[in-house]
């Protein structure tokens, strides 16, 4: 593991050098969602009794931002390195596939957490601070960033061009995050779409994360943890397998 710290550091430095784009911009985007949706819906919608719509929305937005940015970090770093050819700088040294995985995953988690923290911080002006279950928050935040960081590694390795990565993002990641209960409770959906939502792992991430903030949820947070934990194990196994085989990296 001698090369791991350097690769992890390089990945952190990479996004930190363009923090306006990688940290500030997603916080501003989330704030816009909050302003628009809470302005339109605050007076009309109460998802859980005693919980204002803004308080309901905040954890969803924080989670959505973490998911998108964790994915973005590993996938864009890899596709850029592949397109410019500087991926050889990490392929030539004696780095193992496990070090490769941990470094890209670690940096994706850190970026996700920083953006999540930023979004949460700016929303404190609009919704009162409340966090009855901090450990649940931590568990779901870490797992969410780790899952999406790993998905980002797979996408970054698989994609050969920017538009392929964009397709992955627009047709898979975005629908999964938007159709997962960020803006509504799935109980408000017709039965068919409720059932569809329940096979979307992102739904469990948002539902469990929201439970940590408002103390109410659509499903049991323990069930969510089981589903999400299994997802993390599965996607990690797939990523490690691809890295070990040298898929699309070592020809």
């Amino acid at each position: 593991m001698t090369g791991l710290p350097a690769l992890f550091y390089k990945e952190l430095l990479r996004f930190w050098k363009v923090a306006v784009q990688t940290v500030v911009a997603p916080v501003v985007t989330a704030l816009l969602y909050l302003l628009i949706f809470s302005h339109v819906l605050e007076a009309h919608v109460e998802v859980y009794p005693g919980v204002s719509y803004t308080s309901f929305l905040v954890p969803g937005l924080v989670m959505m931002s973490m998911l998108q940015n964790a994915f973005s970090n590993s996938s864009s770093s890899l596709i850029q390195s592949k397109m410019t050819g500087n991926i050889v700088f990490v392929l030539l040294p004696p780095l193992s596939y496990l070090e490769f995985f941990l470094a890209y995953l670690g940096a994706a988690v850190i970026r996700g957490l920083i953006v999540g923290l930023g979004v949460w911080a700016v929303t404190l002006w609009y919704a009162p601070f409340q966090l009855p279950h901090p450990l649940w928050m931590l568990a779901y935040a870490l797992l969410a960033c780790a899952i999406m960081g790993a998905v980002g590694i797979v996408a970054g390795i698989w994609a050969e061009k920017y538009d392929q990565l964009a397709a992955f993002q627009n047709f898979l990641i975005l629908p999964l995050t938007f159709l997962s209960g960020v803006f509504y409770s799935i109980h408000s959906l017709p039965p068919f779409w409720q059932a569809v939502s329940r096979v979307n792992p992102v739904f469990y991430l948002i539902d469990g994360f929201r439970y940590a903030f408002v103390g109410q949820s659509d499903t049991d947070p323990w069930l969510g943890l089981l589903v999400v934990g299994a997802c993390f194990v599965a996607i990690s196994a797939l990523t490690l397998m691809l890295l070990k085989s040298g898929y699309k990296l070592r020809h």
């Binding site: 350097a6 550091y9 390089k10 040294p93 004696p94 070592r250 020809h251």
Partner: protein, 302 residues
């Protein structure tokens, strides 16, 4: 004590990309301390061979080892012993020169490598660009940075894949001075290049690849003797030459004459015949065979 392991050993290496057999059973030993040239036309398999040595590609069959370490089984030791300057002019636009070299050192587990980094930057004339973003470097400077990156871990074996393609004369000269110095200090150098005069001047031994096979492998001076086609260019004070030499002596575009001959005795005969016929030689140039002639010859024959 057993013999030191060769710096590079490849045996029966085969690699196929879809429809092309990039390497078709290549075996080669390069001893420690050699300055070795790998020549061949585009698509001969040079870069594929280097990629397999570096772990960027995997062979279909056969083995490759750096300093006795198998590039697949003992990839950590093999890569630690190898520094590769890639052919493509690649750089990471997020970092400056010093950051790039520090990070690259870190990949090899080297912290506090600044002393050595300063030394390589000094020798490659990169020191005054240390804090510049890599994106703002000229092509020549980017090439130097690639050389520096390949050297951060002081590898005993250095591979340069077309390092002087598109590089100006000054940089080419200073680069070769530096690489020759590393070779004198004991580093093994494997070089691929399209500039055959560079290979002729620098490499002690040369292998020529064609369609994934080695078609020539010998000391550079032995290879140069493979072709004994000398050429003489003459300017004469007559418009005709003795009958025995008509046909052998060809007219040049600029009014002179040209003749190819195998050994110098033939040249003596020619000069005697000319003198006998009363023809005076106004000017004469001799051309020794160079690696380019040998290369062209071998590529045609095989």
């Amino acid at each position: 004590m057993s013999q030191p392991s060769p710096a590079i050993r490849v045996s029966e290496l085969r690699k196929r990309f879809r429809t092309t057999q990039a390497l078709d059973g290549v075996s080669l030993d390069i001893q420690q301390g050699e300055f070795f040239g790998l020549l061949g036309p585009n698509g001969a398999g040079k870069t594929t061979l280097i990629s397999i040595l570096a772990g960027l590609a995997r062979a279909d069959s056969g083995r490759a080892a750096i300093m006795g370490h198998d590039v697949v089984r003992d990839y950590r030791q093999a890569r630690r012993a190898l520094g590769v300057v890639p052919q493509e002019l690649v750089y990471d636009p997020f970092f400056n020169v010093r950051e790039t070299l520090r990070i690259q050192s870190g990949y090899f587990g080297l912290r506090d490598n600044d002393g050595w980094i300063d030394e390589i930057m000094h020798h490659l004339d990169l020191a005054r660009h240390a804090d510049k973003n890599t994106q703002s470097l000229s092509g020549g400077m980017k090439r130097r940075l690639l050389v520096a990156q390949a050297l951060v871990h002081k590898p005993p074996v250095i591979v340069l894949d077309e390092p002087t393609a598109g590089v100006d004369v000054d940089l080419r000269r200073s680069l070769w001075e530096f690489i020759s110095r590393l070779n004198r200090e004991g580093h093994t150098i494997l070089l691929t290049t399209h500039y055959l005069e560079e290979a002729e001047a620098l490499c002690g031994r040369i292998a020529m690849l064609k369609s994934g096979r080695i078609v020539a492998l010998d000391a550079t001076r032995n290879l140069l003797q493979l072709t004994n086609e000398h050429c003489a260019q003459l300017r004469l004070d007559a418009e005709t030459v003795p009958a025995a030499w008509q046909g052998r002596l060809q007219r040049d575009a600029d009014g002179g004459w040209r003749v190819n001959f195998g050994d110098y005795a033939e040249l003596e005969t020619l000069l005697a015949d000319l003198r006998g016929a009363g023809v005076r030689v106004l000017e004469m140039h001799l051309q020794e065979p160079d690696l380019e002639d040998v290369f062209t010859d071998i590529m045609k024959r095989t």
